[in-house]
């Protein structure tokens, strides 16, 4: 449906370089990246607000690289909504219909219909300066959807929304996607990506560094940056060595990890998910793959319960469910044993960052 071929664009000191990607019909594609990674610039190139220095953009097999913004039929909802403050809500939503010289009864009918769909009928005669973030978001969405866009681009759509309203807006996005609307959504928020995406692309320093299904991207992160996004905090630079039939990885802190069978480079970076590490207050038989004695250095609440920082030759971050944490009766100076299976050690591409 949408295809980007080797798109490059220089914007001051920043460059989007060699971006190629394909969005399929009906997909909910989330482009994940930190602020300044180039994701908004990429959206603006797709929408036609800027022109690429090189490369091509195809929409439904038509080259739209230099097509006028007004003729692309791509809807863009801006991060700060870009609501026109000189028009009331009705005027904002009707703007595109006025551009097309639609007759007044149709304008009224269409605006009423879309406002009802998005639950903003009661706002139509309101000025926009005293609307909440969630209301502005819906007005911006209605203003774009009324154009029946072929593709909807959402730029950080949940960044300025109250947490309590986020689920509501997410549900709206999901419903739109389910009705067949193809969506590209850019965000810096991992949880947003996981809860909405059918496919994810991770953008970093102007390059798309990994693409795939959410499980693939976060289950096998291509590098430290993607792993960080998945909430993984255990990274170890290691040297790989083979002892008989089994592989080992020795960290800078001289800790040796047992690995599964396979082929490994000489050096690399391995990650271990916080949730893959188990913690005990007594030593276990050494048949669990990897088991180390350590001391708890810090305890802090996290989404799963408690996050423990354990010094065991290296620093390990371990997520412990609240029930388990209470049972273990751990304090921040407790001696503990941590263990994880060999399969939990994920090797990143050549150990690169």
């Amino acid at each position: 449906m949408l295809k980007l071929e080797n798109i490059s664009k220089k914007l001051g000191d920043f460059t989007l370089s060699g971006i190629s990607m394909e969005i399929r019909e009906g997909e909910y594609y989330v482009l994940l990246g930190r602020s300044g990674s180039g994701k908004t610039q990429l959206l603006e190139l797709i929408a036609g607000l800027n022109e690429a220095d090189s490369g091509k953009i195809w929409l439904d097999d038509e080259d739209i690289t230099f097509k006028k913004i007004q003729d692309r039929n791509i809807g863009l909802v801006f991060q700060d909504y870009a609501i026109f403050p000189n028009l009331i809500v009705f005027g904002n939503i009707a703007y595109s219909l006025h551009c097309r010289k639609t007759d007044k009864p149709t304008v009224k009918k269409e605006v009423t219909r879309i406002a009802k769909e998005l639950n903003i009928s009661h706002l139509l005669n309101r000025f926009t300066h005293n609307l909440s973030g969630g209301e502005l978001q819906r007005v911006a969405l209605a203003r774009t959807l009324i154009t029946s866009p072929r593709l909807l681009l959402l730029d950080e759509p949940l960044a300025s929304i109250d947490a309590s309203l986020k689920d509501d807006i997410k549900r709206t996005f999901r419903q739109l996607n389910r009705k067949g609307l193809t969506i590209i959504h850019v965000t810096h928020d991992y949880s947003e990506a996981v809860s909405l995406a059918t496919r994810i692309g991770v953008i970093h320093n102007g390059r798309v560094i990994q693409e795939g299904l959410p499980d693939d991207v976060f289950g096998k992160p291509a590098n430290r940056f993607v792993a960080r996004y998945a909430g993984i905090r255990n990274f170890f630079r290691v040297r790989f060595s083979k002892e008989g039939l089994s592989w080992k990885a020795e960290s800078d802190g001289k800790l040796a990890f047992n690995l599964t069978e396979g082929s490994y480079p000489e050096e690399g970076l391995i990650i271990i998910k916080n949730s893959a590490i188990s913690i005990y207050n007594a030593e276990l038989p050494r048949d669990t793959g990897n088991c180390f004695k350590g001391v708890v250095k810090d305890i802090s609440p996290c989404e799963q319960g408690m996050e423990l920082l354990v010094e065991a030759g290296e620093l390990f971050y371990v997520d412990v469910p609240m029930n388990d944490f209470k049972k273990l009766q751990i304090t921040d100076t407790s001696d503990v044993w941590i263990s994880f299976p060999s399969e939990a050690c994920i090797v990143l591409n050549g150990g690169s960052v």
């Binding site: 913004i69 801006f78 028009l87 703007y95 595109s96 551009c99």
Partner: protein, 268 residues
Amino acid sequence: MSRNSPFNWILLILSSLVLLFILAPLAGMFLHTGGSELLETVNDQEVRASIWLTIWVAFAATFFFAIGAIPLAWLLARKEFPMKNVVQGIIDLPVVLPHTAAGIAVLGFISRDGLLGKAANSVGLTLINNPGGIALAMAFVSIPFLINAARDGFTAVPERLEKAALSLGASRTRVFFTISLPLAWRSIMTGFVMMFARGMSEFGAVVIVAYHPMVAPVLIYERFSSFGLKYARPAAVLFIIVALAVFILLRLISVRKKETHILPDAEA
């Protein structure tokens, strides 16, 4: 800082002196003008005609030049082009020129040998000693006020609003008239009022281009040089009253215009 600190007292005294410096001569002029003198001046046909001429010519000059000045201001706010700083410098030039020198420059331009003078002559129009010439002299010295205020107004309009309008299918012209212009309206009107007020009060450039018909500043000068301060004062007071009234009226209209602009689209 304490409310009665020496610093606050110094600020208050210096500020009061500056305000007094502006108000004292004006108050003196008003106090020295009796009601009967003022009434006599109001009934003076020559004075009335000259004030009316000043107002409508200054308004016409502002209105017609705004048609070109506002798009130029948008260009300066939105586009980057070679020699942009030079263009900005040229726009500010009339502000720093002595106004008599500006008058000489305009006179050269509109005299029979000048570019515009020749063109006007070919259609049977003489710009010297003509309201058209006066309007050109007024506009020459006052147009930077409009261009600069409108430019600042357009700069303050977030560019992404214009981009959003484009992405909704609006043409560049439509974006200009429905988004950029309404949002910069207050600044444009401020510039409009400033240009109008500056044009209305212009003496130096106008007197060189057209002694007759007499605009109010020229009439006041003429009365002063021919009959003295006593005869010039009532005309000056009357002109100030009328100018202030027009000035306040325009400011009120510009504020109300902004507020009511937002409504009509609701009925679409």
